[in-house]
Symmetry: C2
Subunit: 337 residues, 2 copies
């Protein structure tokens, strides 16, 4: 009983099943792959594989299908990432054409990824957790209304209009801005609250109240810049792979709509040496995704933000992983510039 052949058999089963959606039997296996042994031998191997919980038979006289564990072994030890086709590379590279702002880039990216893989694609907005403050601006819109703008070195810009409470002048704002900036420029956004309090205290009495308001505005901006969002595309692909979700695609759609769930899911995916992480079926920490797999990776500075796809466990892992990785790399490059 050769170990390598057993793996080869598992690989063949996974590939055939992913391709045909039908349980695969010993005979069909020896026909489609030249394994050099007879179907009886394969049967023995399959019995072993079943004992180990790597494959299972839906009913007595049917072929076998891979279990979650089987897929796991497949992606971990057997599969090599399938290189992308020239057309796919071209598609990725033409992604950049005419894209301007971050939102736009991300939107194009998820669309592309969902088309490449025929699955649902999700992308997390670039992290700004460790982002540092680069610039702030106060703009007087009306005697009491001030536009507060905050720019992080991640490139993200947040703004909001606040009511100063009392009338303020342009000069007041310039003064306040200079004071604020002096003590918070370059600081991590997370530290803003602690840093701002003393500055407000040191302001001239007449400006105490507007200063406090503006500081609070900055706090809120920093907060909402930290809070994470995501984009998604290709949900219609789920409908096509209806059959692959024995229950229904309902729970999957629910999971996708719960951004909180998705964000936790993505961020909990540990980084894999090969750079792409896969979470299969019941491995997922969320029940609704017990029949789905997630293929994800990090991108951007520190690979902190995640991008990935979600589909049925019966999925072409090698291609998906290759696509996710390629798109992530390209995305990193675009955003890095």
């Amino acid at each position: 009983m050769s170990e390598p052949r057993k793996l080869e058999v598992l690989r063949a089963i996974v590939e055939d099943y992913v391709h045909s959606r039908e349980p695969v039997g010993s005979k069909a296996l020896v026909e489609r792959h030249h394994l050099g042994v007879s179907s009886a031998t394969i049967r023995n191997d399959m019995a072993l594989l079943e004992e180990e919980g790597l494959i299972a038979a839906p009913h007595t006289s049917a072929g076998r299908i891979p279990t979650d564990k089987g897929y796991r072994l497949f992606v971990d030890r057997i599969s090599a990432m399938k290189p992308l086709s020239a057309a796919e590379r071209r598609a990725i590279h033409s992604l950049l054409e005419g894209a301007d702002d971050v939102d736009d880039i991300l939107e194009r990216t998820v669309r592309l990824l969902s088309q490449l893989t025929n699955q649902v694609a999700v992308v997390q907005y670039p992290h700004s957790n460790q982002a540092r403050l680069r610039h702030i601006e106060f703009v007087l819109l009306a005697p009491r209304q001030v536009l507060v703008v905050l720019i992080a070195d991640s490139g993200k810009v947040e703004q909001r209009v606040v009511d100063a409470g009392t009338d303020v002048t342009d000069e007041d704002l310039t003064l306040l801005r200079a004071r604020f900036l002096a003590s918070i420029s370059g600081a991590p956004l997370a530290h803003l609250p602690q840093l701002l309090a003393p500055v407000v205290a040191l302001c001239p009495p007449a400006l105490q109240s507007p200063a406090a308001v503006l500081a609070r505005g900055l706090d809120k901006l920093a907060e909402s810049s930290r809070d994470e969002r995501m984009m998604m595309a290709g949900t219609a692909n789920l409908a096509r792979s209806n059959v692959d979700f024995p229950l229904s695609i309902g729970p999957v759609l629910e999971a996708l709509e719960e951004q909180v769930v998705m964000l936790r899911l993505l961020s909990e995916m540990a980084e894999d040496p090969r750079g792409v992480t896969v979470s299969i079926g019941r491995e997922n920490p969320y029940d609704g995704l017990s029949e789905a797999s997630v293929v994800a990776t990090g991108y951007g500075p520190g690979a902190a933000a995640k991008i990935g796809i979600i589909g049925p466990t019966r999925m072409d892992y090698p291609s998906s992983m290759a696509a996710v990785r390629a798109v992530a790399r390209y995305l990193s490059r675009i955003l890095g510039s």
Copy 2:
């Protein structure tokens, strides 16, 4: 052959079918509703209704189901909006708790509406079509990088970072800003392109190139501020009513993902005297929605922005219409404050 009874029969058919999802026959009708006549009479009426294309039989020996045209007549002439339950009213009124910014309000609103109706809910962001320019700001981030901020009187703020092409100074920016502002302040966003071109031409030669870049930046901002967005919730409800979409929910999901399609759809829905518009099945201008119905209405100033739900043609119209209208009214009130 009494006309009122015929309508009564149609109403009964629609109600029963919506309730049971099964073709309804003459006998079941006289049992469930006290129509005061025998099933044979009903059969005659039904034959008439079928001739007029209001109902149809899936096959010879089955009951009838309403056609698109039947539903249309139902919503136009027969149905009364079903008043909301006390619990539903309460749900709507507790919507406001803790909501702060517009995004948040809209998100809560669509969620609520999708839960109330068990359908997919969509809401368009409040229009800023006729918005006017209130303020612009240029902020120097790096020798060549300029943050362009545009504020509309609708309260919307758009910003983006542009590359000036050549080095510029703070003084340059102050000058440009003053010139630009002089000629476009208060102008409708739509007119920006025409107004900016001559200003750029009149700038000192040294500033021509950055001026052009900034003008283009403003154009784009005005454009993206005009461009409309929407939010959506409850797509998982589609999976539940899987059965109601004979083909698949795929096309519906596709339509929902195409914001362009959805926005056109919503804005093309003419206003109904009763305040809620319904578009049924093939009436929809988009093929993917030929088995779906849209119930929508306007909200906010001039009822310009739309909110609505999307579900299978076999839908509880009276309840849906009531829910949409109630939520829209409440939303108008919140935003109006």
